[in-house]
Symmetry: C2
Subunit: 318 residues, 2 copies
């Protein structure tokens, strides 16, 4: 089998493994948004996923892939939020501990979700170094297995199940746009679509204020994100060598969205589609609003990645 | 045929008539809310309906039931919002004018929706007398046909299609709870459920601050709403003799919800179900939160009536 065939088999295995625990999420459409954009838009609603984000897919796949012996010691991760909540839920479902390292800057709704799902939270300073050091200390102390939010094969295979569903629900998409933070969803999406040998272009969308994927693709080498500035708190991470490699091989392009477009798109989705999504989830629509004229396509799949927002502090309320 | 058989036939005819123009809306569930309430809850999502509320069903049925001659002169209504937007959309779809009388107190999002759908708005003082006078003047001047928001057979038949769908989507419901304003949805729901000879109890839910249905049912006579005080702006109207009569014959009871419960339920639906609903739509869940202990049932259908809110002024933001 070729590399892509192996990857597709892993995504299909993930789908079967996680099926009892995650939702097949619906696809929503809006004639008003279609008219506004001059295209057919299909929104894959991972905001309705367990724990409120697509991250449940990768987390369940990683936790359920462990042997009983490995699993018994628990799992650990550092995460700005949705992966942490998802891993806590998956671990609780398997009856094992989840140790979660969170930066103090994490939005409150996401901290509360982790606690609600039984994750054991360790707060740390909001730097990658502090997060990694705190996680390493927990691994040394407990023997727990690190489940990285995106630089992990089982996690990427789980995230790829979003695209498997989407292309069955909506045939003949021209483009699938997914948000890019660390690149786990983008990698899983590209591996699924290209593994299935579909013509659809996979395009990443990221905030202009956290544009490491765009810069890395442009430079042909991995350029880490050092100072992300965006309201899209799920997309502040850097690509890893693994996700960068998938992007170079299988992703058709990366679009950036200015902050104003992200806020506008978030509000538009709430107002027109009547669903709650977090700003990170609105970045594909924001990118499309900003770049529609450059994209000569008609049928767009947009992955709405999550819906965990602090309802007391909405993006458009300064 | 009995009266109920005639009514059911009218609802079925409405369903066929409006099918090309309205959505079959989905039913959402949440294991978290089920656990919190100790019951199975099935939310019928009319917030995803055309123009953002179930009102599209009754409005389309009324507009499409007119003869070409009647229709040519247009339609008129007075409404606090969702019916006005729905009637504007239905009229535009048929290519006829819609004259809309709105009180100046109407929330801005609803005024904007009417304008967006091409309705011709006449503002009036926020009293029933002022609304009726303004509407009568328009009828006299244009010959337009009055389409009352709820005291209208075609409108009630259209609203009854919500329940037809719901009982097909979710069999064996013990109870269906719907919000009660003027009683159009409650009437349509009760006539559909009882016409189908189902065992499900139909229960109305209304704000404690606009409890004319509860008081009327308790007194056995129609007691109009004179001074409604509730955030649920869709539920401030009074029952009509027609909807009161349906309630007396076919509705199992009315529950009231305090304002705090309405706000809590609205927020809960946004936070857990990840959908945007207006406070009026959350009243059935609010009533269930307040009265769960008195309701020895397991399977509840709750009609989420609409999702048109002003996103700059959320109910829980004082």
């Amino acid at each position: 089998m070729s590399g892509l065939e192996v990857q597709l088999a892993a995504i299909r295995a993930a789908r079967a493994r996680i099926a009892p625990h995650v939702h097949v999420t619906p696809v929503l459409t809006s004639s008003r948004l279609d008219a506004q954009l001059g295209a057919r838009l299909f929104f894959k609603c991972e905001n309705f996923q367990k724990a409120g984000a697509f991250k449940a897919r990768g987390a369940f796949n990683a936790v359920l892939s462990l042997s009983d012996e490995e699993a018994a010691k628990g799992v650990v991760t550092h995460s700005s939020g949705n992966h942490a909540a998802a891993l806590s839920l998956a671990a609780r479902t398997r009856g094992i501990p989840a140790y979660i390292v969170m930066p103090t800057s994490t939005v409150r709704a996401k901290q509360e979700a982790v606690a609600a799902y039984g994750g054991q939270v360790t707060l740390c300073a909001p730097t990658l170094a502090a997060r990694e050091a705190a996680a390493a200390e927990i691994v040394a102390r407990t023997g727990a297995r690190m489940v990285h939010p995106y630089d992990d094969e089982a996690v990427i295979a789980g995230q790829g199940t979003v695209a498997l569903e989407l292309v069955e629900q909506v045939p003949d998409l021209d483009v699938i746009i997914c948000p890019v933070g660390g690149g786990g969803l983008m990698s899983g999406t590209a591996l699924a679509v290209k593994g299935l040998n579909l013509q659809a272009l996979v395009i990443g969308a990221e905030p202009a204020g956290a544009d490491d994927a765009w810069r890395s693709l442009d430079a042909g080498k991995l350029i880490p994100q050092t100072d992300p500035r965006t309201i899209a708190d799920g997309l502040r991470a850097s690509l890893s060598p693994r996700t960068f490699g998938v992007m170079m091989d299988h992703v058709g392009g990366v679009l950036t969205a200015p902050e104003e477009a992200i806020i506008e798109a978030t509000r538009l989705i709430w107002r027109i589609l009547k669903i709650v999504v977090e700003p990170s989830a609105a970045v594909p629509l924001a990118a499309l609003l900003a770049h529609r004229a450059d994209l000569p396509f008609q049928r767009f799949g947009l992955i709405l990645t999550g819906g965990n927002v602090d309802l007391d502090r909405l993006p458009w309320m300064g």
